[in-house]
Amino acid sequence: MSDRAATPKTASERPPTRRRRSRYEGDVPREHYLNVAYGLKSWLFTIDHKRIAILYLLSITAFFALGGLMAVFIRLELLTPAGDLMTSEIYNRVFTLHGVLMVFFFLIPSIPAVFGNFFLPMMVGAKDMAFPRLNLASWYIYSLGGVFTLAAIVAGGVDTGWTFYTPYSSTYSNSAVALTAIGVFINGFSSIFTGLNFIVTIHKMRAPGMTWMRLPLFVWANYAAALIMILGTPVVAMAIFLVAVERLFGVGIFDPALGGDPILYQHLFWFYSHPAVYIMILPSMGVMSEVIACFSRKRIFGYGFIAASSLAIATVGFLVWGHHMFVSGQSIYASMVFSVLTMLVAVPSAVKVFNWLATLWRGSISFETPMLYAFGFLGLFTVGGLTGLYLGTLATDVHLHDTYFIVAHFHYIMVGGAVMGYLAAVHFWWPKMTGRMYSEWWGRLSAGLLFIGFNLTFFPQFLMGYMGMPRRYHFYPEEWQVLNVLSTAGASILGLGYLIPIIYLTYSLRYGPIAGPNPWRATGLEWTTASPPPQHNFEQTPVVTEEPYDYSKPIVNDLPAPGAGAEPKPSPAAPRS
């Protein structure tokens, strides 16, 4: 850490709220995106991508809390073998809501809608997204979808599982399926518009000199995720639309009694919902590339490979959806093909992990909070990915299908991977978004708690699942109680680990030390502007003349003096293509 010595103090005026000196000192700009306008209206009608990101941050945090509350109920119920806390009907609704809220209203929008929205235009050197109004519209659409889903909870909840499998969802369920389906359907369009905005912004809004091979890997990862959003989401929208039509009008598209095939729904659903896993994990992987390079003080190893593997994951990820349907009655020949392709998709994921490890190799590693989350990601994602191979193998899947093994597997990917990446992003970019530093001590503590709590929660579930405990039941034989108690105990620690950051991050908004433009001495255009950034991101359009992740030379903490370095150099390539 010696290479990050305290910066000479340049602040001429100090806010009275600053309590103590820190090594992160710097100026707070007089005018930035947070204080250009005040009042509710200035937020609800904003077209500034940074403010929209904050709107998303608040909304997804609320949905995360609600989904987390459902998880609390699940774990409490499973503390004892008997179904004593709630009835089967209630339990079905609780785990369904946990899934729907976490998948559609937290994980899918999490990193793209918050950090993608905030930083993608800054990273490419643009003033805003290509379509700022569409960007705001996508938040409203998200909120509208959320309102429908919350209305479904009030109307009695939904009990189909987050997958809405037919014919249960289309014919038999007596819960508010149509209302939830409409909520998810609407929400899908917010995701589509975010993806559309990303792709056009990356293609058309890059600053002079920002060639494709100079894009930060976070941008590449979000580009790949955006492709999945626009190509996959409409298909699940149609699938869910057909379920809603079937329920509302009694049309028999998936109803075997009327000649339909329920398995067809699973095809349409997983065509999107498997790649949707990559919508969740790819942006997290993008965060990993940023954080690991920064806290290893090293140029990222294999830039081209990491960028290409994002696109490979997005592409091959579309070819494996049938591995969710091995025991559904799908053709065994289709299953064989899907199984082989599933093994293939592990390759680009492994390429990324090995490249990150190679980046760490002989790096000057330090253990700030974002880096702790990155290490958490590396281990947990690897466990989650490797157990995925068990499930992609035909024979073992027959044994493990619909057990707690798969519950553990996808939580290792989605919580251990996607959420750890999300928290790494929160801690990495918080100083840029707010201009304040959070408490490093509390940050490290909660990162540690989360890692321990997570493993204690979900590792026992691998064992339970291997022993045959099925998912989605609220009672179980007594011999699995010890593992379930361990899991619930872990969940309590996990819950604490989520609460602590909310407290110290909120505290830092007012009392945190001033961060300055670049507290981590990171590369990337977003760190060259003030914290919090000005309304239009940069005082003048930046000109990019260097490769990304050039940590070989010392990076100055201060903003360039006005006018200095503004001489635009001839760009080596056309800015747009």
Binding site: K127, P132, L134, A137, L231, P234, V235, L242, I253
Partner: protein, 238 residues
């Protein structure tokens, strides 16, 4: 539901939201020049059409599967559709595509009166399509071919004929909704064109609407043989 997003997207992307008039002319603050802005809206519109393609693709896939499984029943169901009305509608839509394409051309050439006329013509063709579609729906209702509680059909294949009509109404219904919203959106463009908003320098909204309208036309180009001609062919061939 989704159908509403077509024109709305075009509106939002081309910066022509009715509640947000452009004070500084058509160039928005975050673009360097009109070229960048136009390229962005064109690319955005194409990506949106890609999304629409996959949206229709979902129901097309379902249709393909059932047609593969229940070929005879689907042919029987299709034989109840009116090929003459379907052909008429196809021709009407091609006319509307031509007037739409010419409207874009008129905007490019700064011929504002022609632009207004061609847009109105496109709307009229679209309206005629919808009227004929409505007549067809009415026929189906009288014949008891509307799926759901009032479906009435005799014969050994009744179940799967029901399935065919479920697809017929879902697919043509979504398509018709796209047209309704396209026409509504065009009405707004007619007002703006009459006001003189568009010309050589700025016609992106017209161009984007054109892309959307042609896409809706293409969907029909596939729906027509898949739904109407299948029955005719089967009736003649077997």
């Amino acid at each position: 539901m989704s159908q509403q997003h077509g024109p709305v997207t075009a509106a939002v992307m081309t910066g022509t939201m009715p509640d947000m008039p452009d004070h500084d002319g058509p160039l928005q603050h975050h673009f360097d020049d009109m070229a960048q802005q136009n390229e962005s809206s064109a690319l955005g519109m194409w990506l949106f059409l890609l999304t629409e393609l996959m949206f229709f693709g979902g129901v097309m896939t379902a249709y393909a599967v059932y047609r593969y499984l229940f070929n005879a029943a689907f042919a029987e169901g299709a034989s109840h559709l009116d090929v003459r009305l379907g052909t008429t509608n196809t021709i009407i839509l091609i006319f509307s595509s031509l007037t739409m394409a010419l409207a874009v051309r008129a905007a490019q050439m700064d011929k504002r009166k022609l632009l207004v006329g061609l847009l109105i013509a496109t709307m009229l063709f679209g309206g005629a399509f919808l009227v004929i579609k409505g007549i067809e729906y009415a026929h189906k209702w009288e014949a008891g071919h509307v799926p759901g509680a009032y479906f009435h059909y005799e014969g050994p294949l009744a179940n799967h004929v029901h399935l065919f009509f479920s697809f017929y109404f879902t697919m043509t219904g979504i398509h018709a909704l796209h047209m309704v919203l396209g026409i509504g959106w065009m009405a707004w463009l007619v007002l703006r064109s009459a006001r003189g908003d568009f010309g050589v320098g700025y016609y992106a909204p017209i161009e984007m609407t054109g892309l959307y309208w042609h896409f809706v036309d293409i969907v029909w180009i596939f729906l027509f043989p898949l739904l109407y001609l299948f029955g005719a062919g089967a009736a003649a061939g077997h």
